[in-house]
C-alpha cells in the first residue's frame, strides 16, 4: 500500500451537454448497435430524428451505463432495463 497524490480536474456532466452517437459510445464504451437497440427499446430517447442527428444528454449517458451494468451483472434484458430505470427514477422523484 502506498499513497500517491494526483491533482486532477474532470468535466462536469451537466444538463446542457449533448453527445452524438459516436461521442456517447466513446464515453460509455458501448457499440453503436447497442445504443441503437436501446433507442429502439425506449431505454434512451435522443433528440433528433435520424441516427446521424441524434443528440443524447447526460441523463441518457447515465441510463446507458446503468443498463449495460444491469445486463452484465444481472442478465437484465433491454425491456427489463427500461422498466428498472423508470422505476429507479420514480423512486428518486418520490424521495424528494
Amino acid at each position: 500500500m502506498k499513497n500517491e497524490i494526483v491533482v486532477i480536474s474532470g468535466i462536469v456532466l451537466d444538463e446542457s451537454m449533448r453527445f452524438s452517437l459516436v461521442e456517447l459510445c466513446d464515453f460509455a464504451k458501448a457499440s453503436p448497435d447497442q445504443v441503437i437497440e436501446m433507442v429502439e427499446e425506449g431505454v434512451l430517447e435522443p433528440e433528433g430524428t435520424s441516427v446521424y442527428t441524434w443528440r443524447f444528454d447526460t441523463h441518457a449517458l447515465k441510463r446507458l451505463q446503468i443498463a449495460m451494468r444491469l445486463e452484465q451483472d444481472l442478465g437484465v434484458n433491454l425491456p427489463g432495463s427500461a422498466l428498472v430505470l423508470d422505476l429507479l427514477e420514480e423512486m428518486e422523484r418520490l424521495k424528494r
Binding site: 499513497n3 494526483v6 486532477i8 480536474s9 462536469v12 456532466l13 464504451k29 446503468i66 444491469l70 429507479l88
Partner: protein, 314 residues
C-alpha cells in the same frame, strides 16, 4: 490477510450445486447491485459477492478453494500453503461491476498471479480498463465556492510483474463552483487500469451533499427554515438570515404567519441561472417563565382572542 468464507458470503452450504450457486448469486446481486440497492453498504457487499461468485462458479477455482479452505473460518488470519500455485487457463476473464476497486488480498493471494483483469477481457490480450464509479460527499459550502477535495479510492494496480495489488489512491479533485447533488464528474483515464497495453477506464464521481445543519439543497435552490419571534412575524422586522454567501438582511412583512415562504433571488448555488434561497418562517414563542411573562400572555389572550383550530370544527 483474512480467510474469506465464500459460501457464507453467498449464504450457501459447502455442498451447494452449481444451480444453487447461480441462483444465490442472482438473488443477492439484485439485492446489492449498486445501481439498484438502497442498502448502505451495497457497494462493498456487491464486491464481496462478485468475488465469491467468481470463485464458486468456476469448477477449477472452486475445487482449489475447497481444497485450501478446509477447516478455516471467516475472518481468520490466513496464509496460503507454501506450495500454492494456481494455473489459469488462457481464457480467464472477469466480468461484473467492481465498484470501488478489485478483489480482496485473500483472492489475489490465491488466484491473482500473473494475469490482469478487465471487463470481458482475456489474459495477454490488449484490453481497456473498466470504468469506475464512486459517490463522494461534499459540503454545500464547497459546492457554493468551488474547492479542491481530497478523495481516497481503493484501486487495484498492476505491479512490475503484472500482478494486481491493492493500492489506496488519493485524488485531489477540483470541485467546480455550482455543482449540484446527483451531478457527475468524469475523470478520463482515472478508472481501472487496462491490461496488455490497453488504456485505463474512466472514473465517474457522483456528487452528494453532506447533511447541513440548516440548509437543504434542491437542485441549485437552497431551503432554510428561519425561526422568528411572534412579534417579528406580527409587526414585521428586518432580520439577519444566513445564506451560503454569508448573512443578509431580510425584511419580514407585517402579519406573516408560520410557514410563509420568502424567496431570496440568486442566493442559492451559483450557475446560469443561479439558484434561489427559499426561507420558510417558523414562529418560536418564548416560554412564560416569570409572572410578568405570564401576565403578558394572559393579556394577549384577552385582547386578541382567537381559535386557531376553528377550521377543524373544534
Amino acid at each position: 490477510m483474512e480467510y474469506k468464507d465464500y459460501y457464507k458470503i453467498m449464504g450457501l452450504s459447502r455442498d451447494a450445486t452449481p444451480e444453487e450457486i447461480k441462483r444465490a448469486y442472482r438473488k443477492l446481486a439484485r439485492k446489492y447491485h449498486p445501481d439498484v440497492s438502497k442498502e448502505a453498504n451495497a457497494e462493498a457487499k456487491f464486491k464481496e459477492l462478485g468475488e465469491a461468485y467468481e470463485v464458486l462458479k468456476d469448477p477449477k477455482k472452486k475445487a482449489a478453494y475447497d481444497q485450501v479452505g478446509r477447516g478455516w473460518q471467516e475472518g481468520q488470519p490466513f496464509t496460503p500453503p507454501p506450495d500454492w500455485g494456481f494455473d489459469f487457463g488462457v481464457d480467464q476473464g472477469f466480468t461484473g461491476t467492481q465498484p470501488g476497486g478489485g478483489f480482496s488480498d485473500f483472492f489475489e493471494a490465491l488466484f491473482g498471479g500473473g494475469f490482469r483483469r478487465g471487463r470481458g477481457g482475456a489474459y495477454g490480450r490488449q484490453m481497456q480498463g473498466s470504468d469506475q464509479l464512486a459517490k463522494i460527499q461534499i459540503d454545500l459550502e464547497d459546492a457554493y465556492r468551488g474547492a479542491d477535495s481530497l478523495i481516497s479510492l481503493n484501486m487495484p494496480q498492476a505491479d512490475s510483474q503484472g500482478h494486481l495489488v491493492s493500492n489506496v489512491r488519493t485524488l485531489n479533485v477540483k470541485i467546480p463552483k455550482g455543482i449540484k447533488a446527483g451531478q457527475r464528474i468524469r475523470l478520463a483515464g482515472q478508472g481501472m487500469p487496462g491490461g496488455g497495453g490497453g488504456g485505463s477506464g474512466d472514473l465517474y464521481l457522483e456528487i452528494e451533499f453532506k447533511p447541513h445543519r440548516y440548509f437543504r439543497a434542491e437542485g441549485r435552490d437552497i431551503h432554510l427554515e428561519l425561526p422568528v419571534t411572534p412579534w417579528e412575524a406580527a409587526l414585521g422586522a428586518t432580520v439577519p438570515v444566513p445564506t451560503l454567501g454569508g448573512a443578509v438582511e431580510v425584511k419580514i412583512p407585517p402579519g406573516s404567519q408560520a410557514g410563509k415562504q420568502l424567496r431570496l433571488k440568486g442566493r442559492g448555488l451559483p450557475g446560469t441561472p443561479a439558484g434561489d434561497q427559499y426561507v420558510t418562517l417558523k414562529i418560536v414563542a418564548p416560554s412564560a417563565r416569570t409572572d410578568e411573562a405570564k401576565a403578558l400572555y394572559e393579556k394577549m389572550a384577552k385582547v386578541m382572542p382567537m381559535n386557531p383550530r376553528a377550521a377543524m370544527g373544534v
